[in-house]
C-alpha cells in the first residue's frame, strides 16, 4: 500500500496565499495586478502521444485588472479564492452551486449564471494546478458504488466495501480524504450500468474474479475517476472497463483511459492510459449474435468522428469502429441475457478477462 504525499488541501491553500501576496505586491508597486492562466481553448488542447492522454499545451493568457473587460472577473476570482481558502481553513466543503449562490453576498455582486462562477473555478484550478476537490469544492453527485474486498478510512471511520449493504460502498465526492486501508482484490472491473453491477454482485462475481466491482453509472463522476486512478496507482490494480457496445460506451471507457479534452488541464490526475477496454465490441455482436438496435444517425456521425480521434488510432479501435459502421448495429452489455441471466458472468467476462 503506497502512502500518498503531503495533504493536497494544505498545498492548495499555499497556492492561494501566494496568489494573494503577489497581488498585494503589485498594488503596492502601482502595477496592475495580473495572473497567467493556461488557455483552455481547443487550439491549446493537445493529445500527448507519450503520456497517452489530452493535456494543455503552453499557450497562456494573462488576465489583468487593468483591462476594463476583465477587472470585474478579476475581483470575482479573488473573492472565489478567498472563499476557497475559508473552506480549507474550516475543513468544510461546498458544491459549485452553493458557491454560486454564496456569491450573491460578495462585494462584487453575484454571477449572472452558474457557468460563469464555474469558469472562475476552472481558472483557479488550471492557473495553480490544483483540483477543485482540494479547494473544498465538490460536485453534487456521489461517485460510483463499489463491491469487493476493500477497506477504506474516511473521517476517521473504517468502512468495508462488503459490509455497507448490498448496494455497496459509495465513493463520496470528497474522494481526496479517503485512504485505502486494505485491499484483497487483484483487479478492478468497472461496468457502465447499475443493472450489470447488481448482476455481478448477485452472482458473486467479485469473489470469483477476485475483483472490485465498480458501477460507473454512465459517464463516471470525477470522484469515480479519481478512485480508479488511485486504485491503479496506489493499489497497483489493473483496471478493466466493461461498457455497452455503442459510441457512448466507447466514449465512457476512453475518457477513463485517456481523459477528456474539456478537463485537459487536470488529466494527469485522472487519466489511466493502461486501463483496458473489455466492453461489447462489434465483433462480439457478430460472434454472440447479440440482440441489437439500429445505429441512429447521431451514432453514425459520432463513430465517424471517433475514427479521426487520436485516442482511437490503434488497430483494435479502427477495426471495431469500422465493423460497427458496416453492421449498422449496436448492443448493450445486458444483451447477453438472451442466453440467460448468468451467461455474462459465467462465460463472456471470464473469457475477456483471461480468467478461463
Amino acid at each position: 500500500m503506497t502512502k500518498r504525499n503531503e495533504d493536497p488541501r494544505e498545498e492548495a491553500r499555499g497556492h492561494l496565499e501566494k496568489f494573494g501576496s503577489e497581488i498585494l505586491e503589485n498594488i503596492k508597486n502601482t502595477d496592475p495586478p495580473r495572473v497567467k492562466v493556461p488557455s483552455r481553448s481547443t487550439s491549446n488542447i493537445v493529445y500527448d502521444e507519450e503520456e497517452r492522454y489530452y493535456t494543455l499545451a503552453d499557450k497562456k493568457s494573462t488576465r489583468t485588472a487593468a483591462n476594463m473587460r476583465q477587472v470585474k472577473k478579476f475581483a470575482q476570482t479573488l473573492c472565489a479564492a478567498d472563499f476557497c481558502k475559508d473552506l480549507i481553513t474550516s475543513g468544510k466543503t461546498a458544491t459549485l452551486r452553493e458557491m454560486y449562490y454564496t456569491s450573491e453576498g460578495w462585494p462584487t455582486g453575484g454571477f449572472s449564471s452558474q457557468d460563469r462562477s464555474d469558469r472562475i473555478v476552472e481558472d483557479i484550478e488550471s492557473a495553480f494546478g490544483v483540483k477543485r476537490e482540494d479547494l473544498g469544492l465538490l460536485p453534487e453527485e456521489d461517485g460510483a458504488s463499489i463491491f469487493g474486498e476493500l477497506v477504506v478510512e474516511e473521517s476517521g471511520m473504517e468502512v468495508k466495501a462488503t459490509e455497507a449493504g448490498r448496494a455497496g460502498y459509495t465513493i463520496p465526492p470528497t474522494m481526496g480524504d479517503v485512504e485505502f486501508v486494505a485491499c484483497g482484490a487483484e483487479r478492478v472491473l468497472a461496468v457502465e450500468t447499475m443493472g450489470m453491477y447488481h448482476r455481478l454482485v448477485q452472482e458473486e462475481a467479485w469473489d470469483d474474479y477476485n475483483a472490485l466491482v465498480v458501477a460507473l453509472k454512465g459517464q463516471p463522476a470525477r470522484a469515480t475517476r479519481r478512485f480508479l486512478k488511485r486504485a491503479n496507482e496506489e493499489l497497483g490494480l489493473p483496471i478493466y472497463l466493461f461498457t455497452d457496445g455503442d459510441p457512448f460506451g466507447f466514449h465512457i471507457a476512453m475518457v477513463v483511459i485517456s481523459g477528456s479534452a474539456k478537463l485537459a488541464y487536470i488529466n494527469h490526475e485522472l487519466a489511466i492510459p493502461d486501463a483496458q477496454f473489455v466492453g461489447v465490441t462489434a465483433s462480439d455482436i457478430e460472434d454472440y449474435e447479440l440482440p441489437t438496435d439500429k445505429l441512429r444517425d447521431s451514432d453514425i456521425k459520432r463513430l465517424k468522428q471517433l475514427l479521426e480521434d487520436p485516442r482511437y488510432k490503434d488497430e483494435f479501435w479502427q477495426k471495431e469502429i469500422k465493423k460497427m459502421l458496416s453492421l449498422e448495429k449496436k448492443a448493450e452489455q445486458q444483451a447477453f441475457s438472451k442466453y440467460g441471466l448468468e451467461y455474462v458472468v459465467e462465460d463472456y467476462l471470464p473469457k475477456k478477462l483471461d480468467l478461463k
Binding site: 497581488i23 498585494l24 498594488i27 495586478p33 476594463m68 481558502k85 462584487t108
Partner: protein, 517 residues
Amino acid sequence: MVLARDIFKEFKEHSVSEFFRKNASMLGYTGKIRSLTTVVHEGVTNAIDAAEEAGTLPSVFVAIRSIDKDSNHYKVVIEDNASGIPDEFIPRVFGRMLAGTKLHRNVQNRGQQGIGISGGVMFTQATSGKPAKIITSTGDDDGISYNEVMIDVNKNRGKIMDHKRLEGDWRGTRVEFEVKEVIYQRSRYGPYNYLRMTAIANPHVQITFEEPDGSLTVFERATEQIPDEPKPIPPHPAGMRADGLLELSKNTRSKSVGTFLVNDLSRFSRNKLKKIENMVDVNLDKDPSKLTWDEAESLVSAFRKMDFMAPPTKGLRPIGEENIERGLRQILHPDFACAVTRSPEVYHGGIPFIVETGLAYGGDAGNRRGSEEGGLEIIRFANRAPLIFNQGGCALTSAAKDIDWRRYEVNTERTPLTLFINIVSTHVPYTSAGKQSVAEEPEVYEEVRQAIMEAARKLRRFLRKKIRRKERRQRANLFEKYLPIISQKAADLVGENPPEVEPLIKEIAGVESDEKK
C-alpha cells in the same frame, strides 16, 4: 369533322381594355383594401409626374370620402397643381390604355406603361357605374374644363359623357373616382401608409390627405428643390440583345451603321468604333436600316467582349443621399439616418438602373405593428413610388432578408430600424403589371445587396460610436468599484491589511492596458 372555314367564322379581335377588364387583378384591383390603395396610387403617381413635367413643385391633395359606409361606397379625389390637360387629350389620357407621353421614351417615370389612370376609370365604372370626373385647366384664358369620362371597353376608347366649361383661374387637374367594393383602413396596406411612404421618397412633394372621418394630415415637403427633369437615355451596349439593336436601327436618323452605333447607343465612342471594326465582319458604312439579324447578332456578341463605361445618369433621377435623409428625418424623426445612392448599373437588355438605400434608426423608425417593440421595417420604392404589396416575391425584399444583419449590430426582431430601398430605372423589371414587386434580375439583386450593406456599414459606425461613448463613462466607475475589492480580498488571503489602492486606480483609469488574451 368540322372544317376550317366554319371555325374561323368565329375569329375576332379584341381590345386591350377588354383584356384588362377581365384581368383586373393584373393591375392591382384585387381585394377590397388593395383596390382602394391602387386607385390612390394611380392618381397620385400621375399627379406628381405631371407636376414635375410641368416644372412646378408638386402639391397634391387626396381625399377619400365615405358615400355609403354599409355598401363600401367611397369617393376618391386627387388634385394636382400641374399643367392641366388640353381637352382633346382627355378621352385618350383617361379612356385609352397603352397611351401616354411616356411609354415610347427611354425615360424614368413613376408611371411607365400608360395603363394606370385608365385602369382607375375602368375600376370606377365597373364598380359604381359612374363616369370619372375630370376637372382640369391649362391655366390659359379658357377657364376650367369639367368632364365626365367613361371607357368604351370594346374599342379601347374614351367617351366624354358630359362636358362643361366653368369659370375660374386655376391650373391643374382634379380627378374624382366614385368606387364601390372597397374598404378604407389605416393598415400597412391602406392609403395612409401609401402616402406616408410617398412623402418619405419625395421630399419635394407636399401631400394633404383627408380621411373618411374628416381628419386632415399634411405631409410637409422637406426641400424646395424640384428634381432635375429626367432625360431620355440611349440604350447601353452591355447586355443589349440582337432584336433590340435591330429595332433601334430601323428608327435611327443616322446614315451609316457606324454613326448609328455612336449616336444611338450610350457610351459608344469613336474609339470603340475603331475597335469593333476589327472584331466583326459587318460593313459599318452601310445603311443601318439594311442591317440583318446575323449582323446584329455579331455586333452584339462583339459588345460583350468589350468594356464600356457605366451608363450615363442624366436620364435617371435618383432622389439623392441628402434628400433621402431629409425625407426619412422629416417623417420618422429618427436618432440617426443615412443614405446611399449607388452608381448606375445595367441589367439585361442594356437597361440602366440605380439603387438607393436609406436607414433610419430610433424615433418612429422600425416595425411598429402590433405589440412588437421594434424590428426591421422594409419600405420599397420603384422610381420613388411605394411598393406595398407582394413583398414576398420581390428582389428588394429578398436582398434585404439575405443580409446577415447581425454583422451590422442589428437584431432584426428588436432594433427599431427602417430600411428604405428605391430602384430607379427607365424600365423597372416588375414581375407583373400590378407593379408591386421587382423581378430577381441577378444584377439588380446584387446592386441592392451592395447598397444595403453600404448603408448598414454607416449605421454600424454610428451604433459602435454610441456604444463606445457609453463605455467610456462606465470605464472609470468600473475601476473605482472593483480595484478596492481586489486589494481587500488579496489582503484577506494573506491575512494582512489592504494597501492603499488610489494610486493604482489613477494609473489604470488613465492608461488602460488593452492587453488581450
